[in-house]
Amino acid sequence: MFTQQIIGLIVITYFLIRLYLQKKQKQINANEFYFWLVFWMIAALAVVFLKQIDLLVRNLGFSASGIDVLLYLAVVMLFYFIFRMRIRMANMEKDITKVVRAIATKEKNDGM
């Protein structure tokens, strides 16, 4: 196994531990947990079977180098962060609705 692969697996392990802790602290729901679990498992498999993937990519007629892989990973990471941001925003929107609803009901009950 290459050093790069070991580093990759360490990074993925870090994210898996983080994911587990987020689930334990109920910061994410079950669906989100399973989505990212599958995502990081696929990433780990891709790192472990990098040689076979390289071979597959070459057989498909693409020229893949280390920098390409880094770029692909960067795109995946960006996707990850954008998606996380979208979920966070959706949760915030939900909280805003709860506040707006509570004010609407309170206004009526207080006879305002």
Binding site: I28, N29, N31, E32, F35, R86, I87, A90, N91, E93, K94, I96, T97, V100, R101, I103, A104, T105, E107, K108
Partner: protein, 223 residues
């Protein structure tokens, strides 16, 4: 006697709101009407508030699904037995409320959806009738196991007991699909009745369908 609450979400409906309220009052004076103004920029709230009904106001625009939920939860708090969702743009006929609530009153259904695609004739725009609705019906059937003839039925009634199983999280237009999905995946007794829809504008567009799917997808990952 069962307490029936009519929930009317409204956004910039100053030209229609009084007429809708009067129409509903004329059907049955015992109906409790709750108008939820979703932060209109016109006089919708002021007009509703003067109409001797319950008028609630969102201080920030949150969408139709959110307004319906505000009204529904308020009605339940006030002892409602049956909740009816009704539009403020005069596209539904108030006289048909009795058809929608009938099966719930007779204890034959827990939730009743109005359908534009049954016996009664609605003047549905061609694109909507022949392209958008069949596609929406297919999506509902494939992804949500919903087999209703009207994939975007906004005129509905349900019993207060059913609300726990129906409770929707979607603030926008996706609440409609979510309510159907929740109804079909639970053990609630569902029913469809024919209703008439008078089109005053096109309503939900093709792009709206994609937004609903996107909102439903994102909703799967939220708290």
């Amino acid at each position: 006697m069962k307490k029936i609450f009519i929930i009317i979400p409204a956004y910039n409906e100053e030209n229609n709101i009084i007429k809708v309220i009067d129409d509903v009052k004329n059907v049955n004076t015992d109906f409790q009407i709750v108008v939820v103004d979703d932060c209109s920029t016109d006089n919708t709230y002021q007009l509703a508030n003067k109409s001797n009904i319950i008028a609630l106001r969102h201080i920030v625009n949150r969408g139709q699904g959110a307004a319906l939920k505000t009204g529904t939860e308020y009605a339940i708090m006030k002892g409602a037995d049956i909740i009816v969702h009704f539009d403020a743009d005069r596209q539904f006929l108030a006289g048909e409320i009795k058809d929608v609530v009938k099966s719930i009153l007779n204890n034959q259904a827990d939730i009743v959806f109005g359908s534009r695609f049954m016996d009664k004739k609605s003047d549905i725009p061609w694109l909507k009738k022949n392209i958008i609705m069949p596609l929406a019906r297919l999506v509902n059937k494939l992804f949500f196991k919903v087999t209703l003839s009207d994939p975007q039925a906004g005129f509905r009634a349900f019993s207060t007991n059913a609300y726990k199983k129906l409770e929707w999280q979607q603030d926008g237009m996706a609440h409609c699909s979510e309510i159907m999905h929740n109804a079909f995946r639970s053990d609630l007794r569902t029913k469809e009745v024919p209703i008439t829809v008078i089109y005053r504008d096109f309503g939900q567009k093709f792009s709206g369908g994609f937004k609903i799917l996107k909102d439903m997808f994102i909703g799967k990952f939220t708290r």
